[in-house]
């Protein structure tokens, strides 16, 4: 057994240990913290699997935004912790454990018996990269070969926003999401909220820009921008915008809109829906990505902010 394998086993053990902690620990808050740690460490596995694009996504979502989302809920539901004493009985737990183990075993068997050499589309993706002029194959798959999925996924994000907003009380409809945070303007938090966002914005844009040829892209960049936006909100330096604002609505659909328009232009004048003329492919894709990073940042930020709670009028 090589030292690399030992390392991999250690990594897998740490990650799984955190997973177990997350499931079995009694207190919800501890479970949430455990899951955030899990999410951050899974990024290590993704790097080890040489899937850096996913590692970036997992770091941004699994650990960062997802963690904050879960943690906020855990904090608000803290009092509900005591009430839910309806833990299922031993029989249920034992059968659930047995069935989960069986499922895992079946899955593990199927994984171990996967063919060698494995089927792959990597050569096809590389061979067709000329059509876009981008050398990051993952971006090519997302933006060209399987662009339809990406576009629909952006609509999923939009529907999530609509779903969250539809939970607003009628009196707060069109108002601002989340509580208003106030902070001491000279405090540590405000200091950090002034210092970090400029750095974060640079990093976010860098991740977007580098995504053309290296790991990165609009989603990962957007997640960083969203967290910087939220930081200024948490520190009380900014407030969430009222959801009825037209400009906000426009930002929230800019990405999928541009995607759809480019797609339809391709349908009318080009080779097919969502096909790019090779000469224009790179600028078009980058243009869509720029629109998308704004949309994603706004969407993720608002998803974390929650349903409108305060009427737009003070």
């Amino acid at each position: 057994m090589s030292i690399a394998t030992v390392f991999e086993i250690v990594l897998a053990a740490v990650v799984l240990g955190l997973g177990i902690w997350t499931i079995v620990v009694r207190e919800t808050f501890s479970a949430t913290v455990g899951f955030v740690a899990y999410g951050l460490l899974v990024a290590l596995i993704w790097v080890r699997l040489d899937a850096v694009d996913v590692a970036l996504t997992e770091a941004a979502i699994g650990g960062g935004l997802g963690g904050v989302l879960l943690l906020g809920a855990a904090a608000r539901l803290r009092d509900a912790d005591v009430m839910a004493a309806e833990t299922p009985g031993k029989v249920v737990r034992a059968s659930a454990a047995a069935l989960s183990v069986l499922t895992t075993a079946a899955l593990a068997g199927a994984v171990l018996l996967l063919p060698d050499p494995a089927p792959t589309l990597a050569p096809a993706a590389v061979a067709n990269a000329w059509a876009t002029g981008l050398s990051n194959s993952v971006t090519n798959v997302l933006m060209a070969f399987r662009a339809m999925d990406t576009m629909l996924e952006k609509v999923v994000l939009l529907l999530a926003i609509i779903g969250v907003w539809s939970l607003a009380p009628d009196s707060a409809w069109g108002g601002r999401p989340g509580p208003r945070h106030q902070a001491d303007p000279d405090g540590v938090l405000a200091f950090l909220a002034r210092l970090l966002p400029p750095v974060g914005i640079v990093v976010g844009i860098y991740i977007l820009w580098t995504g053309a040829d290296h790991p990165g892209g609009a989603f990962q960049g957007g997640a960083i921008l969203a967290s910087m936006w939220l930081l200024t909100i948490i520190a009380g330096l900014a407030d969430t915008p009222p959801v009825s604002r037209r400009w906000l609505r426009f930002i929230l659909v800019a990405g999928p809109c541009l995607f759809l328009v480019v797609g339809l232009v391709g349908l009318l004048f080009g080779a097919a829906f969502l096909s790019y003329p090779p000469a224009l492919a790179k600028p078009l894709i980058l243009g869509i990505e720029v629109a998308m990073i704004l949309t994603i940042a706004a969407t993720l930020g608002l998803l974390l902010a929650g349903a409108p709670e305060r009427s737009a009028k003070p």
């Binding site: 540590v188 938090l189 950090l192 750095v199």
Partner: protein, 97 residues
Amino acid sequence: MSLVRDMITIAAVSAGAFFFLAGTVGLLRFPDTLTRLHALTKADNLGLGLVVLGLLPQAGGLRDGLKLVSIWLLGLLAGATVSQLIARAARHGESTR
């Protein structure tokens, strides 16, 4: 030349690993929140700094080097501010435990 680089890397990374060890021992041994926080932020940030220092000779170019340093700076910034916030939280939150 590459030997010198590797020597620097080995030395700095080993020192970094030692500080991580020290930080963890502190976490395990220290009795209360504030001292553990102390162990965590001081020792681990030093460990990270040494690892970054050790990896600088292996970095591909100026850009990677800059990124490495800024990662460390971010870690320091977070350590300095967040540990202060947590410390206050811990002191005020003792009753809510």
